[in-house]
């Protein structure tokens, strides 16, 4: 595949936008905000390396390896570079604020309350009360937290008093 670096990098972003999150397939990896960056660099021995920086949502997220593998396979198929590397990065912490507006809407449509926005100053100290969530089914704020821990590390369980539905929310972190 030929073309300038910028054009090829945008082809990479487009390919990544087509990869669903392994645990919540309604949202893509790009909308989840786990891709920190994409870079194409020449290799000293010739050829080029495509590096993707992947930010785990939670340090212990077991889906990270699946994401890594899917990204590697998809980008190798693109034949954009002779080498593809997917590197885990903690250079800045992934935060739930990185989920895009389209991603938040995709979560809501599939029955997950998107996370409360926490702001860039969150360090762990400011979460002194457990977060509230809006019901993804009826938009009521009359909800209660049933369990701050859910079926995966990133999910919490709520109940809506208005439509009487239990639902899950993506944890603000």
């Amino acid at each position: 595949m030929v073309g300038g670096v910028a054009a090829r990098e945008s082809a990479v972003w487009a390919a990544l936008a087509g990869i669903p999150d392994p645990e919540i397939p309604a949202i893509s990896l790009v909308d989840l905000g786990v891709i920190r960056g994409v870079a194409i660099e020449p290799l000293p021995a010739g050829g080029e390396r495509l590096t993707v920086e992947l930010m785990p949502t939670f340090v212990g997220c077991p889906a990270v390896e699946v994401m890594r593998q899917q990204i590697g396979e998809r980008l190798t198929e693109l034949c954009i570079c002779s080498e593809v590397a997917v590197e885990l990065s903690f250079a800045e912490p992934w935060t739930s604020d990185r989920i895009s507006p389209a991603g938040r809407e995709a979560l809501r449509r599939s029955g997950f309350a998107p996370p409360m926005t926490i702001g860039s100053t969150f360090s762990g100290d400011s979460l002194t009360v457990l977060p509230i969530a809006t019901c993804p089914y009826c938009a009521s704020r009359n909800t209660t937290l049933e369990n701050p821990f859910g079926p995966t590390l990133c999910r919490a369980i709520y109940h809506c008093a208005d439509c009487r539905q239990p639902f899950e929310a993506f944890k603000p972190v």
Partner: protein
């Protein structure tokens, strides 16, 4: 920061191993509650918290493996009982719910103090990981603070069991801040931004008023923990070690 001298690198390896083993062993103990916790929500919560801890341990073992040129799985599963460096607090079996809650309360607060400090570590990979882990540990802190109050204010029995567990675990909880070989080098290099004894004092300032507020006795403050706080092992831990190494040792060099 790749230009560490040998002594400082060895000291950093001790610090990473101590933290990783704390998270790893506690994660395994509390994963035993999966399916048998007092209420269904707690089956889910303890499982999730334990998964977090094992994940943190994995990330720390990987940092250690990068530093020493080893393999994270071999470090995690390939050591004999006396090769582990978790604090004596993690030597005990899970026992009853009050005991597990007491341990989590003491540990989560100690871990929070440690991570807050390490967020400013001069060793960037550790500082970055500490920043990320803190955000997750906040949920653990809130959860176990709540459980401490719930059991303290529950029945006479829950209060009595919790008070007895705090009393029993108190000396071993100090060992989270037991001195490390080469600690002075780590402090001098800014890798450990504050001495462990400073962190222990901060932890005591934090847990003592919470115990008092829950009408629980605050045991006498022991002297500085001895250097054996991370090397003493028990039969209970030896049993757990047999459990968590069973799969890895059944087929050496297996790949997943």
């Amino acid at each position: 920061m790749t230009d560490l001298d040998r002594e400082t690198r060895d000291a950093l390896a001790e610090l990473l191993l101590a933290m990783a083993d704390d998270e790893f062993v506690l994660g395994f103990w509390d994963s035993e509650w999966t399916g048998i916790a007092p209420i269904l929500e707690e089956d889910v919560a303890m499982s999730s918290v334990s998964q977090d801890e094992i994940g943190h341990a994995k990330a720390l073992y990987e940092l250690l493996a990068e530093l020493t040129g080893g393999d994270a799985d071999v470090i995690a599963f390939g050591r004999p009982v006396d090769g582990y460096r978790h604090a004596a607090l993690m030597n005990h079996a899970r026992t009853d719910w009050a005991f597990s809650i007491a341990r989590r309360f003491l540990y989560e607060n100690a871990d929070a103090v440690r991570l807050e400090s390490l967020a400013a570590s001069a060793y960037r990979p550790l500082a970055e990981l500490a920043v990320k882990m803190r955000r997750e540990e906040t949920y653990h802190l809130l959860h176990f603070d709540l459980w401490l109050r719930r059991l303290a204010e529950g029945s006479d029995e829950s209060h009595a069991r919790l008070a007895a567990a705090i009393e029993r675990l108190w000396p071993d909880a100090q060992a989270v801040f037991a001195p490390l070989a080469g600690e002075a080098l780590l402090v001098a290099a800014g890798i450990l931004p504050e001495p462990l004894e400073t962190l222990r004092a901060r932890w005591l300032e934090r847990v003592s008023p919470r115990l008092t507020a829950a009408h629980l006795p605050v045991p006498a403050i022991p002297d500085r923990p001895g250097a054996d706080g991370r090397t003493r092992r028990t039969d209970e831990f030896a049993w757990l070690h047999g459990e968590f190494t069973a799969v890895a040792s059944s087929e050496a060099d297996a790949t997943w």
